[in-house]
C-alpha cells in the first residue's frame, strides 16, 4: 500500500464539494464580537472526497469482506433490509420532540420491540433507552442501587464479578460507587459456589453474571448461583452480550436473573459500524419495572374502536434519564425488522445454528489447539494459542497470521483466566465451507508455528500495513492531522 494522505493533505484553498444557496431573506448583521476569524477544515471537490473515503474503506476488514469470528462480539451478517427500513422517511425524518400524535408509527414500533425483547428473555418490561451494552450495564447497576437504597439497605455496597467477566462489568460497578469483588471460576469453568457463598453477606448488592460465560460455556449451576445471591438479599445482573446462544433456548429470567441488557448490535443484527452505534436495551423482572429509566412507551388510551394510542411514560421510581431523547431509534427499527423476519422459530434456529457452528469448529480444532475446558460449548469457545514445543509463539502471532488468510482474528487475550486466549465466535450466518476454510487455516498456522515460527512472528505479511509501533503512538501522541498554530502537541 502506498501511504494514504489525510484529507487535509489533499486540501487545496478554494476547492469545493457541496454548495448552499444564498439566503433569500433580508440580511441581519452578524454578531461581530462572537465571530470566529478562521476555521481549519479541508477544501476538496466531491470526487476527491468520495474517492478518499472509498479508498479508506478498502483498507478495512468487515463482515462483508470476510470471516470475522471475534468472540463476544457476534459479528453476524447485517441484513440489507434493515438498512432500507431504518431509512424509511417516516422513521428517519421524525424529530424526537414531535407531538406523540404525529409519531404513532415510531411509538408502536418501540412498544412492540419492548414487548418482543421482554418475551424473548422472560422479563416484565424493557427500556430501549441505553445507547450500548456498557450503557445498559450502567443502567442495570443503577437500578440495583436505587432499589436497595429505597428499601433502606444502604449498607449493601459490594458487587460480585466472576473472574471471566467483561472489563465493562467492574468499570460499571465502580461508576456506581460499589466495591468490586472478584469470584473465581472452578475447575469446570463455572462460578465457584463456595467462593460465591463466602461473599454473600448483608453487604452484598448483587452479582454480575454472563451466561453463557466468556469461555462460551453454559453456567452449569446457574439457578443455584442466582438462588444463593437472592437468599443473601442481592440481585442478579445478567450481561446479555452472549444472548445469541439463548434465543428460544432459555429465558434468562428463568435462570433467576433480575436485570439483563441486550446488545441489539450483536444478537439482533444491527451493524457494528466500526465501533458503534450499539444499542443496549435493559429488561427487568416485575418488581423493578418502576425503576427503569424513562420514558417507556405505553398504551395510554384506546378510542371507541379499540385503537390504541401510544405515548411516552416515565416510571414512578425511575433512576432517571440515561441520555437525551429515547435511545438509538434507528437501531430499534433494524432489530425490530430482524425479529419480524425470524419469528419464534427463526430465532431458535439462529441460536441452534450459532451453537452448532461453534461446536463444529471446536471439535475440528481440539486435537491441534488446547481447549482449556473440554465441554460442549455454546455459541463461542476459547482455545489456547500456545504450545510447549513452540515456546516463542503467542496468541498474538497466530492472530496476526490469520489476517494473511483473509480472516479477522478472534478476540485475543480475553478472557484473562485463560493463558494466550483466543476466543472464537463464528455466528450462525457462516456456511460450512467458510468454517472448513477456517479450520484449514488454523491447522496450517499450527504447523507453521512449529516448523517456520519466523513467518508467524513477521505476520501479517499481506495486509495494507504491517504490525504497528504502538509504543510510538502513545509516546509521541499525535491526535490530529493539522494542529491549529497556537496549539501545541499533547505531551
Amino acid at each position: 500500500m502506498t501511504e494514504q494522505k489525510t484529507i487535509y493533505e489533499k486540501s487545496s484553498p478554494g476547492r469545493r464539494a457541496v454548495r448552499f444557496p444564498k439566503p433569500e431573506v433580508p440580511l441581519t448583521a452578524l454578531p461581530n464580537e462572537f465571530l470566529r476569524k478562521d476555521l481549519v477544515l479541508p477544501e476538496v471537490d466531491e470526487l476527491e472526497a468520495v474517492r478518499h473515503f472509498t479508498n479508506l474503506s478498502q483498507l478495512n476488514h468487515g463482515v462483508d469482506t470476510g470471516f470475522y469470528p471475534l468472540g463476544s462480539c457476534t459479528m453476524k451478517y447485517n441484513p440489507r433490509i434493515n438498512e432500507e427500513t431504518a431509512r424509511l422517511s417516516g422513521f428517519a425524518k421524525s424529530h424526537p420532540l414531535q407531538p406523540s400524535e404525529t409519531v404513532q408509527g415510531n411509538l408502536k414500533l418501540m412498544y412492540l420491540l419492548q414487548k418482543y425483547l421482554a418475551e424473548i428473555s422472560g422479563f416484565s418490561q424493557v427500556t430501549l433507552q441505553p445507547a450500548a451494552g456498557a450503557h445498559g450495564e450502567l443502567t442495570g447497576v443503577m437500578i440495583i442501587r436505587k432499589y436497595l437504597y429505597k428499601k433502606g439497605e444502604t449498607q449493601r455496597n459490594k458487587i460480585l464479578i466472576p473472574d471471566s467477566a467483561h472489563g465493562t462489568n467492574p468499570a460499571t460497578s465502580a461508576m456506581n460507587n460499589f466495591k468490586v469483588v472478584e469470584i473465581k471460576s472452578d475447575a469446570r469453568g463455572n462460578i465457584d459456589l463456595e467462593a460465591l457463598r463466602a461473599e454473600c453477606d448483608d453487604t452484598l448488592a448483587g452479582l454480575m453474571l454472563t451466561n453463557p460465560n466468556t469461555l462460551g460455556m453454559f453456567e452449569e449451576n446457574v439457578q443455584e448461583v442466582c438462588k444463593i445471591v437472592h437468599d443473601a438479599g442481592g440481585l442478579v445482573y445478567g450481561d446479555g452480550a452472549n444472548m445469541n446462544a439463548l434465543l428460544g433456548i432459555a429465558k434468562p429470567a428463568e435462570f433467576g436473573i433480575d436485570i439483563l441488557h441486550y446488545n441489539l448490535h450483536k444478537t439482533f443484527s444491527t451493524p457494528h459500524g466500526g465501533g458503534g452505534p450499539g444499542s443496549g436495551p435493559v429488561g427487568v423482572v416485575d418488581f423493578l419495572v418502576d425503576y427503569l429509566p424513562g420514558p417507556l412507551v405505553e398504551i395510554v388510551e384506546e378510542d371507541e374502536e379499540g385503537n390504541p394510542f401510544y405515548d411516552l411514560v416515565t416510571p414512578k421510581h425511575s433512576i432517571g434519564r440515561m441520555k437525551a431523547f429515547h435511545g438509538q431509534f434507528g437501531m430499534m427499527v433494524r432489530a425490530y425488522t430482524y425479529i419480524l423476519m425470524h419469528g419464534a422459530k427463526g430465532l431458535r434456529e439462529v441460536s441452534e445454528m450459532a451453537v452448532l457452528n461453534a461446536n463444529y469448529l471446536m471439535h475440528k480444532l481440539k486435537d491441534t489447539y488446547k481447549i482449556p475446558y473440554e465441554r460442549t460449548c455454546m455459541h463461542e469457545f476459547v482455545i489456547e494459542g500456545r504450545w510447549e514445543d513452540a515456546p516463542d509463539i503467542h496468541a498474538l502471532d497466530i492472530s496476526k497470521r490469520m489476517m494473511d488468510f483473509g480472516i479477522h482474528p478472534p478476540t485475543t487475550y480475553f478472557p484473562l483466566i485463560v493463558k494466550e486466549a483466543l476466543m472464537v465466535e463464528p455466528t450462525e450466518t457462516e456456511n460450512l465451507e467458510t468454517l472448513d476454510y477456517f479450520v484449514e487455516v488454523m491447522l496450517k498456522i499450527a504447523k507453521e508455528a512449529h516448523e517456520e515460527p519466523e513467518i508467524l512472528h513477521a505476520a501479517p505479511l499481506t495486509t495494507p500495513i504491517r504490525r504497528m509501533d504502538e509504543v510510538k503512538a502513545a509516546k509521541d501522541l499525535v491526535l490530529c492531522c493539522v494542529w491549529p498554530e497556537d496549539a501545541i502537541r499533547a505531551e
Binding site: T6, Y8, V18, F20, E33, R36, L41, P42, E43, A49, L59, N60, V63, T65, I81, E83, S89, G90, S94, L97, T102, G105, I120, A131, A132, G133, H135, G167, V222, I249, A250, E254, F255, H265, S269, H272, G273, G274, G275, G276, P277, R321, A324, F325, F329, G330, V333, L340, G343, R348, Y360, T376, L432, T463, V478, L479, C480, C481, A487, E491
Partner: protein
C-alpha cells in the same frame, strides 16, 4: 433468515461433533426451562417485513414534507448525498472497533480525521473517537472534571440554561456518587455570570451551553476566569454547527468541550443514533474517556498509520479503575460527521451556519412584528429563539399542526411558568416560504 445450513450440512456437522441431534447440544440447559415457546409474530419474508415496516412508517406524520420548527438539541439540516452513499459501504458499517490496526486503517484514519475536525472546530488539543450523544458526553465531561480533581472537589455547577435532558442525564450519572449537581435553582434567563457566585473551592467544574438551550450566545470569558481562579474547570456544551461561524470555545479558555454532533450529516431518526463529541486540552488527555486514535508507523517499513492509543485509561485494561466504562461508541456517526465536514468544507460550513443565522433572525423579526407575540430572546442568538404567545403554547402548536406545520418546542414542559412560550429552531431547511407560512399561520391562530 440468514443462516445458510442445509439439512445435509447439519447432519455432517452433527456427525463430526459426535452428537445425535441438535437438542443434544443443549442438554446442559435445565430441562424445565429449556426450549420455551416464544409468543412472537410469525416468520416474515423480506417482502412481508418491508411491507409491515412501510405500514408503520406511514403512521408518522412527516412521511410527507412539512415545515418543521423543532430543535432543542436535534436539528434538521441538509445531508449531502455522498454522506449516506459512503456510510453504506459494508467495509465501514460491518466492521467493529478497530482492535487490529493492520486491517482497520480505513476506520482508524477516518476517526483520526474526525478528531482533527473536532480539534479544529473547538480549539482543543485532543478529541476522543466519539461518545453516545451530547447528553452522555456532558456527563462524561463532568466525570472527567471530577477525576481531574482527584475526586476531591465534590460539586459541579450546571447552568440552568443547559438542555434539560442533559441536566437529567448528569443527575442520573452522579446520583450514586458523593457529588453534588448544583445550579438548578438559578434563573434560566439570567446572565451566565451570575453563576460566578456559586463557584467555590469545592467546585470541580462549571457547565455551560454555547449557544445555550434557548439559543442565546454569551461571552463566557469572565465565567471561565472565575472558575480557573477557584481551581475548577470550564466545561462547554456546544452545538458544533454554530462553531461554523462563532468563536471556538478555546477563546473562552474552556477546558473540556462536549456536544451533540448530530447537525453534521446525521438524520433526526427520532432521537438517535447521534454523536457525542468530547474534547479537551493537552494536559487532560489522559483523563479523556473513550477510544482515542493516534498516528504512528508500522514497525517494518515505517509507513505512517493509525492505532487506538492510551488504552491504559480504558475498561478492558484498567477494569474498575478505568476513566469510564464506555466500550462501543458511535463510530459510524463519527464517520458521517467526518464525511459531512469534508463535503461542506471550510467555506460550506460557514455558509450553512450563516444561512441558519439569517433565516432564524428573519423568522424572529417577523414573529416579533405580530400583534400579541413577544420575542423573549433579547440578545445575540444563533438559530433558536423564544417567543411568548398570547395563549398556551400547546394550543398554538395544535392549531399549527392542523395547518400542516410542526411548530416550536413547548419549553413550559421543562421550565415552570413558561406555558405560553414556544422555542423555534430555524435552519437552512426552513426557507423563506416556510417561515412566511409559519408567520401567517401564527397570525391566524392567535
Amino acid at each position: 433468515m440468514f443462516h445458510p445450513h442445509t439439512d445435509t450440512d447439519r447432519e455432517k456437522m452433527l456427525a463430526a461433533i459426535g452428537a445425535k441431534s441438535l437438542e443434544e447440544l443443549f442438554e446442559i440447559v435445565p430441562e424445565d426451562i429449556r426450549f420455551p415457546d416464544l409468543d412472537l409474530p410469525k416468520t416474515h419474508s423480506e417482502m412481508e417485513a418491508y411491507n409491515a415496516l412501510y405500514g408503520l412508517h406511514t403512521k408518522n406524520v412527516p412521511g410527507i414534507r412539512m415545515p418543521n420548527f423543532l430543535g432543542a438539541g436535534a436539528y434538521r439540516h441538509y445531508v449531502p448525498a455522498a454522506v449516506d452513499a459512503i456510510l453504506r459501504r459494508g467495509e465501514f458499517f460491518t466492521a467493529y472497533t478497530p482492535y487490529q490496526p493492520e486491517i482497520s486503517q480505513g476506520t482508524l484514519q477516518a476517526i483520526f480525521e474526525y478528531q482533527s475536525h473536532v480539534i479544529n472546530l473547538t480549539g482543543m488539543d485532543a478529541s476522543n473517537a466519539s461518545h453516545y450523544d451530547g447528553a452522555t458526553a456532558a456527563a462524561e465531561a463532568v466525570n472527567m472534571a471530577y477525576g481531574i480533581s482527584r475526586k476531591k472537589k465534590k460539586k459541579a455547577i450546571i447552568s440552568p440554561a443547559l438542555h434539560p435532558h442533559y441536566r437529567e442525564t448528569i443527575d442520573t450519572y452522579f446520583k450514586p456518587a458523593d457529588f453534588d449537581i448544583g445550579g438548578e435553582d438559578l434563573d434560566p434567563w439570567s446572565n451566565p455570570d451570575t453563576l460566578i457566585d456559586s463557584i467555590d473551592e469545592d467546585t470541580a467544574c462549571v457547565v455551560v451551553q454555547y449557544p445555550d438551550f434557548f439559543g442565546r450566545v454569551f461571552d463566557y470569558t469572565a465565567l471561565g476566569k472565575a472558575a480557573h481562579e477557584a481551581g475548577s474547570l470550564l466545561v462547554m456544551v456546544v452545538n458544533p454547527m454554530a462553531l461554523g461561524m462563532l468563536k471556538a470555545p478555546s477563546e473562552f479558555d474552556a477546558d473540556i468541550v462536549c456536544g451533540e454532533g448530530q447537525p453534521f450529516g446525521i438524520g433526526l431518526s427520532y432521537g438517535g443514533p447521534y454523536l457525542g463529541m468530547l474534547a479537551t486540552k493537552k494536559k487532560h488527555v489522559r483523563s479523556l474517556a473513550g477510544r482515542i486514535v493516534g498516528e504512528t508507523e508500522d514497525l517494518v517499513e515505517r509507513k505512517r498509520g493509525y492505532v487506538l492509543t492510551l488504552s491504559a485509561r480504558e475498561q478492558h485494561i484498567r477494569r474498575e479503575r478505568a476513566s469510564s466504562n464506555i466500550c462501543s461508541n458511535q463510530g459510524l456517526m463519527a464517520l458521517a460527521a467526518t464525511i459531512y465536514l469534508t463535503m461542506v468544507g471550510k467555506e460550506g460550513l460557514r455558509e450553512v451556519a450563516e444561512l441558519c443565522y439569517q433565516n432564524a433572525h428573519y423568522a424572529a423579526s417577523q414573529i416579533a412584528g405580530l400583534d400579541n407575540f413577544e420575542l423573549v430572546t433579547d440578545q445575540t442568538f444563533f438559530n433558536e429563539f423564544v417567543v411568548k404567545c398570547p395563549k398556551p403554547a400547546e394550543e398554538i402548536n395544535k392549531a399549527l399542526l392542523e395547518k400542516g406545520i410542526i411548530g416550536g418546542y413547548e419549553i413550559g414542559k421543562d421550565f415552570d411558568g413558561m406555558e405560553n412560550h414556544l422555542m423555534f429552531a430555524v435552519t437552512e431547511l426552513n426557507p423563506k416560504e416556510d417561515i412566511d407560512a409559519l408567520v401567517s399561520a401564527l397570525k391566524e391562530v392567535a
